[in-house]
């Protein structure tokens, strides 16, 4: 109980820092908060988050329906491919979008012979919106697919019997039931957009994260950065709370046991061609384009004798960071998860809220707090410091994975072991641990892979000269050196694809 509470309280550290820093800044801090510039940044962030959420729903709901309920040609292929953009870190996505549509980019060079030497600028709102929508829609896609698979197909048949055609059935029965899932997924993308650092910074859109970084970098104005960060965290917490509520509503789908029959796929008929075009457009620009472009850059960089000497070290650094983060985050998560699963009560509820809060802490905010805590101490710019920041950042994910795997072990099993003469510790060791092990390991692996991609914390906190893959990509991207960015980006994408082998929506065997 106490260790769990202590660990969970670590999640509060960044918040404590932000609040104390804001208050110690005195009156000027409040003036800053109400300055037109601050409000403009807040408006930009909220506008972007809202538009991305909307766009992801518009992309993901038709994709989910087409790939799970229709006779779309190549349905199995599309259903997996549509989830895959998840493996491309959004800052790599931004790099690709700039490379394709930016000045001197792919599209412009292709159009130059036709006398078109200026494209509308990709920088700012439009580029950020496009990039984030393309690379975060899988969150909505996966939740909506899960919701669709839970709807009893008999409900749609019942609606047909009651005189409703296929379209009216979709709008009256199917859509209302996937709406909570779509809302939850959209809020998740909004939360991601609010906290995303790489895309808005590369595409020069004045959202919170970019403003915080610029403030920190240029003015070394910690107070101003802290106020912006506090505002960002507050907005994120609101989004997070709404998301949690909508997720709660999303659970009621089937009444009764449900036959689990495979629904008969809807016939698309003449709509097949537009449906295929839609899938091709989305998957093409969010998956095929980035991979193809990175490959092309990589091949070109081979000819241009790019210096690859830092690559092994950077890969090793990324792996080291991921390994320690996963190990420590999982070790911290186990007592919390045990408390939540086995000893529910007011104490557990506090711990649960504290860990959940971690989801509303963007990487740049955590990094900022750790820079402030560490500056001047011997741990500053050490690996330990960086790992600590990453642990705070990814603890919620680790807790969620441990909790899920512990929930799958019924306490009845432990009791059965006790009844057969095992001690409490013996029962845990011989029953709970073997059963929960694979789930906990999978969770740790997920944390490892996610931490490897982490950009802002590494950017601010990594020891001097200790560059990771993410930092390498970032530096290259800022120099518009696409060839240099291609190799580390491809390595990261390959590594990030590993968990997709497990998370990809598994197709049920096709029905009768």
């Amino acid at each position: 109980m106490l260790p769990a509470l202590l660990v969970a309280a670590v999640e509060l550290l960044p918040l404590i820092y932000l609040v104390s820093r804001t208050f110690s800044a005195g009156e000027s801090a409040w003036q800053m908060l109400l300055r037109g510039r601050t409000l403009e940044i807040a408006f930009n962030s909220v506008l972007l988050a809202g538009s991305v959420a909307l766009a992801t729903v518009i992309i993901a709901v038709p994709l989910a329906w087409l790939t799970s309920r229709t006779d779309l040609p190549g349905r199995r292929f599309w259903s997996t491919a549509a989830a895959l953009p998840l493996v491309i870190p959004s800052y790599i996505g931004a790099l690709v979008i700039v490379g394709a549509f930016g000045p001197r980019g792919l599209l412009q060079s292709a159009l130059e012979p036709f006398g078109l030497d200026r494209l509308p600028s990709i920088y700012g709102f439009f580029g950020s919106w496009l990039t984030l929508s393309l690379f975060t829609y899988p969150y909505v896609y996966l939740t909506v697919r899960a919701a669709l698979s839970k709807i009893d197909p008999a409900q749609e048949e019942a609606a047909r019997c009651l005189g409703h055609g296929a379209w009216r059935t979709f709008f009256a029965v199917t859509l209302p039931q996937i709406r909570p899932a779509a809302a939850a997924g959209a809020l998740l993308t909004a939360l991601y957009t609010l906290g995303d650092f790489g895309v808005v910074t590369l595409l020069r859109y004045d959202a919170f994260t970019r403003a915080i970084y610029v403030q920190y970098r240029s003015a070394m104005d910690r107070g101003g950065a802290a106020i912006l960060a506090l505002l960002l965290v507050s907005i994120s917490i609101v989004v997070l709370m709404v998301e949690a509520r909508s997720r709660g509503n999303a659970t009621l789908h089937r009444i009764g046991s449900g036959g689990g029959r495979y629904p008969r796929p809807a016939r698309l008929g003449y709509a097949k061609l537009p449906a295929l075009l839609f899938c091709t457009l989305i998957v093409g620009s969010a998956l095929a384009l980035p991979v193809a472009l990175l490959m092309a850059w990589f091949i070109r960089s081979l000819r241009a004798t790019t210096d690859f000497s830092t690559l092994p070290a950077a890969t090793l650094h990324s792996l080291t960071l991921g390994f320690w983060t996963a190990l420590i985050a999982t070790a911290c998560a186990l007592p919390i998860a045990t408390l939540l699963v086995r000893f529910p009560g007011p104490g557990a509820r506090i711990v649960e809220r504290l860990t959940f809060l971690g989801y509303a802490l963007p990487g740049i905010v955590v990094a900022l707090a750790f820079v402030a805590f560490g500056a001047g101490t011997p741990v500053y710019q050490t690996l330990a410091m960086l790992v600590a920041a990453c642990v705070v950042r990814f603890l919620p994910e680790a807790v969620s994975a441990c909790r899920t795997s512990l929930l799958q072990v019924s306490p009845r099993l432990e009791e059965a072991a006790r009844g057969l003469g095992r001690s409490h510790a013996g029962a845990v060791a011989s029953v709970t641990v073997p059963l929960a092990r694979s789930g906990i390991l999978a969770g740790a692996t997920l944390v490892l892979l996610t931490a490897m991609k982490e950009l802002p914390a590494t950017l601010l906190l990594s020891p001097t000269g200790w560059d990771t893959l993410a930092v390498d990509i970032w530096t290259a991207a800022n120099d518009a050196a696409y060839g240099r960015a291609a190799a580390p980006a491809l390595i990261l994408i390959v590594i990030a694809s590993i968990p997709m082998l497990f998370l990809a929506p598994r197709e049920r065997e096709s029905g009768p």
């Binding site: 409900q155 019942a158 019997c161 009651l162 009444i255 449900g258």
Partner: protein
């Protein structure tokens, strides 16, 4: 000898009222696997028919064909005199499910969880009909749920959900109501009472209904007529009593109720068996198997004085299962045959007791099966 009558022939033999449903020559298969073969069925208006068969016999497929969720490979389906599916002619006629005026009650009810009870019931009513509310009210009153329209389905018990599903299917006044194993999700206690309710509600509404079930007791107790299905065909259609007392074949006899067979030699309307000479329902000749239902056996203590021929043969009680309302005794006859006897709860026979076994009433004989 009783011949095998084809479903439609038997069904159409006694038609008085117009037909609500007529299926003829329907073939249906999934891939290479045939599910229905030359399937025919006719249902009169206002009739309650049970489609009884073991799982895998194709009964649910037949129901889904009527509703229009599946397309047959061959055959025709008429609902209320209108051809809704004609897979035989070149052009082919196909009416989609929403235009068929068929109501369906699903196995797990398929109530819409995001809509209130009232909106579930009004779902199938014309959108701008004037009497919408009144029709929802009367449908809910019919199923005994007046006043619960504001609830959501998850606030109702299983039996109540069942009745909402029925009200929803009845509200648009469909030509036929289809019920797909509607009682299988209820516990045994509730099942009998809900079954009774459903029968009353359908009768009050004057609805034509087809019930699909694998439970012979359910089919016999609820329906006006029962159609027995095996391997994608209807083997026999008739009133419950006829099906139970005069099954057309051995396999129907075994599927509908408990049946046991005793070898015998038939001469006209009598058959010689180990249990003596038994009167036959129909005259036949040669080696036969006589069907005995457990309740046709009469047991008496062996010590009672012999009262002449037909008093039965001696046997020993081997085991006893007591059910409360009756009991099932296993009797080993002197000739080596073992039979089950269902008798009242108040007879105090115990395993080991000596009894005399006799048969009440006439019996049914089937030609002797080889082996």
């Amino acid at each position: 000898m009783i011949g095998l009558l084809n479903g439609p022939d038997l069904a159409e033999a006694s038609l008085l009222r117009p037909l609500a449903l007529r299926m003829r020559g329907v073939d249906m298969g999934y891939g290479a696997m045939p599910v229905l073969h030359d399937f025919g069925l006719s249902v009169e208006q206002g009739e309650f028919l049970a489609l009884l068969g073991p799982s895998g016999s194709g009964k649910t497929t037949a129901l889904r064909l009527i509703a229009g969720f599946e397309r047959p490979d061959a055959g025709t389906i008429e609902i209320g005199g209108e051809m809704v599916c004609d897979a035989d002619c070149q052009a082919g006629r196909w009416v989609p499910p929403e235009k068929r005026r068929v109501g369906m009650v699903f196995q797990d009810y398929a109530l819409f969880p995001h809509l209130s009870v009232a909106r579930n019931v009004s779902f199938g009513l014309p959108r701008n009909g004037t009497s919408r509310e009144a029709r929802v009210g009367s449908a809910l009153a019919l199923v005994g749920l007046a006043g619960l329209g504001g609830r959501t389905p998850d606030q109702l018990s299983g039996g109540q959900q069942q009745r909402v599903a029925l009200a929803r299917a009845l509200a648009p006044e469909p030509e036929i109501i289809l019920l797909d194993e509607p009682f299988s999700n209820l516990d045994a206690e509730l099942r009998a009472s809900v079954r009774e309710d459903v029968r009353r509600i359908l009768r009050d509404a004057g609805a034509t209904a087809i019930l699909v079930t694998h439970d012979q007791e359910e089919a016999l107790s609820i329906a006006d007529r029962v159609a027995v299905m095996l391997d994608g065909r209807i083997l026999q259609v008739g009133p419950p009593e006829e099906l139970y007392h005069r099954p057309a074949t051995r396999s129907i006899a075994e599927f509908v109720g408990d049946a046991q067979f005793v070898p015998g030699d038939a001469e006209g309307r009598r058959a010689k068996t180990i249990l003596g000479e038994l009167p036959l329902h129909a005259a036949t000749e040669g080696p036969v198997d006589v069907m005995l239902r457990p309740e046709m056996l009469r047991l008496a203590p062996a010590s009672t004085p012999d009262d002449g021929p037909g008093a039965g043969v001696l046997g020993t009680i081997v085991s006893r299962a007591f059910f409360g309302h009756d009991q099932l005794l296993t009797v080993s006859l002197e000739g080596g045959l073992t039979l089950k006897a269902r008798i009242g709860a108040y007879s105090g026979f115990r395993p080991g007791d000596q009894v005399t076994v006799s048969i009440r009433g006439g019996v049914l004989a089937f030609p002797r099966q080889a082996g």
